[in-house]
Symmetry: C2
Subunit: 411 residues, 2 copies
Amino acid sequence: MKGIANAPEMIEVESGSIITPKGFHANGVYTGVKRKRLDLGAIYCDVPASSAAVYTCNRIQAAPLQVTKESIMKEGKLQAIVVNSGNANACTGERGVKDAYEMRKASAAHFHVPEHYVAVTSTGVIGEYMPMDKVLPGIEQLKPEASLEGAEAFNQAILTTDTMNKKTCFQTTVNGKVVSIGGVAKGSGMINPNMATMLSFITTDAVIEPPVLQQALSQITNKTFNRITVDGDTSTNDMVVVMASGLAGHETLTPEHPDWLAFYQALKQTCESLAKKIARDGEGATKLIEVQVNGALNDEEAGKIAKKIVGSDLVKSAVYGADANWGRIICAIGYSGCEINPETIDIAIGPIQTLQNSQPLVFSEEAATAYLQEEETVFINVDLHIGTGTGKAWGCDLTYDYVRINAGYRT
Amino acid sequence: MKGIANAPEMIEVESGSIITPKGFHANGVYTGVKRKRLDLGAIYCDVPASSAAVYTCNRIQAAPLQVTKESIMKEGKLQAIVVNSGNANACTGERGVKDAYEMRKASAAHFHVPEHYVAVTSTGVIGEYMPMDKVLPGIEQLKPEASLEGAEAFNQAILTTDTMNKKTCFQTTVNGKVVSIGGVAKGSGMINPNMATMLSFITTDAVIEPPVLQQALSQITNKTFNRITVDGDTSTNDMVVVMASGLAGHETLTPEHPDWLAFYQALKQTCESLAKKIARDGEGATKLIEVQVNGALNDEEAGKIAKKIVGSDLVKSAVYGADANWGRIICAIGYSGCEINPETIDIAIGPIQTLQNSQPLVFSEEAATAYLQEEETVFINVDLHIGTGTGKAWGCDLTYDYVRINAGYRT
């Protein structure tokens, strides 16, 4: 395990997954809610795990979110997460809430744990009742295992229109002990937004109390999952859950712990890695776009501006068209609602500086086009020169026929 | 001229245009800024006209906006508006401002009016300098005439990627005198957003002072032009200008005038008509969508929610797919950021009630599909049942291949 000098030691474990941290098991089964593919999965922990979660900010929230919130609120512990895909159990009224409670109850009985140690999550169609005749027998079949096959089956079971699995794993050291953090996510790109629910499940064997874990997750989510664009439509079912088994055997982590930063950065890296994989999996997307904004009034405004840029259809179609169209970037900066000085903006697209102090620079269009055509990740750098705020956001290009019409010419 | 009982008398003049109000002339010429089509136009008034304008809220504003603001601010009067298409003169720094002033100066000399009686406006490519060698000789060619041909040429000259002309004309009576209001607009749909600048020019022969006209225009713009979705990208060049020649010969209009409402409603109808034409002209759009929200906390929130719904890619693609997908509508309501009660929402798609008190209703999918397939304007009605606020917004469906993939199934 090698670390950069003065930076917390951290390595990415290529073959790692949600079962890499000690104590975790996972699997996925087919119940028939979806037509063909696996549609019900579970993560199980040998011990009650310190848990934290963040939820969609949509005022309309699906029934399972209500039930999961109640579970986590009670003790801050979870031992099982049960997820179905194909039906979101959203906008299903009282019956939907009753169904979510029933899913939790059946799962608790199956895993021999208290009900409030179970989280339930759903993704799929809105406004249709959950086919309980399929889900309840499915829960009986769930036999989580500490194998890559089990983790892979879980990952399959939570997908809807995703075109690729999204998993990641990082390791760091706390008190000399290896701490693992594994994560999976689902989420489709903006061009298939009807299934845009984003779910992510993260496991770790770190020793940490629920309130501390919750605070870290909330902070990190704001700079990772909340910094990707899906399509501007916030799902009724979005959720990120993290479970910490505490089996790594180090001293309990708090922000005062000497290795706190190592853990925090590894958790952040896990979330950022998953967030970028979601952005990259925009249906048909060919590129990941990363926007870095510096010199903003503060970090919050920097992040907001970065997200406006990467969320602009204009910018996305320009990237697809390999057009170094800084006019669209400055336009998005202008309508971001953030403090700017219209006279002091620098914009670079990859290595190509295109605007300095808001004045167009002469640059090689050929070099810019080559950069945009060749790189799989396109970097856009903005400096506003009004403060010290910095922030990043991620998205993908737009590649469809309707965009193709517009991507070819400079505006 | 027939009016509805108790409503201000108003008629739409099918053949009317910006030259219908007394005193106005228009034309358009070809200068070569665009490759082939007319690209420079002017509206000229026989007398200095009371004038008012609203501008883009983008913090980055194109040079001509600055010059036009200065013109109108000085006296509230305009006698000529000169517009070019093909180049936006935006993000062009000091040289851009100098060029805009030079366009104004040349126009003032050509029309023999003071410089501050001239407004200049541009739409087109961002970040390229104005080809003054083409524009200045073009100004010399401008010979506005009080003919439909002249108005038509002006309208052609301001278009970029629009697929249809957008003009309208209404007449009402003030002190028994006929008052005409004519308007033209340009603006492309969200699917060709790089040229999304929205411009509108409105003429009237009403007698009205500039500050009163400005107040009416600002109020009306908030409920008409600001209620259409283009693509979430606010252009650096958006502008609406109204000129009132005062040649209708009635007593000066103020909000206290007995016929104020007649004028106000006719001006509002002119703006709403143009706004709807812009929304309907989304490239490839097959339908206009009108969303009416009632029962909101207040009118502002109702308008905001209506605009969120009509701006949702999910809702737009569902309309194209003739899918009565109320789940996407309630999802947009939920993330609107406005006050709602998640338990008391009614949603109707045309005549089909789909949700009552947030509970799904059983409805005929066939009837809903037939409605969505057959109607050229789709109405979505929402009642939140928490207040008395009402508001409308307009948009269009999404019809492209990338949407086609998603429009076919219910989520």
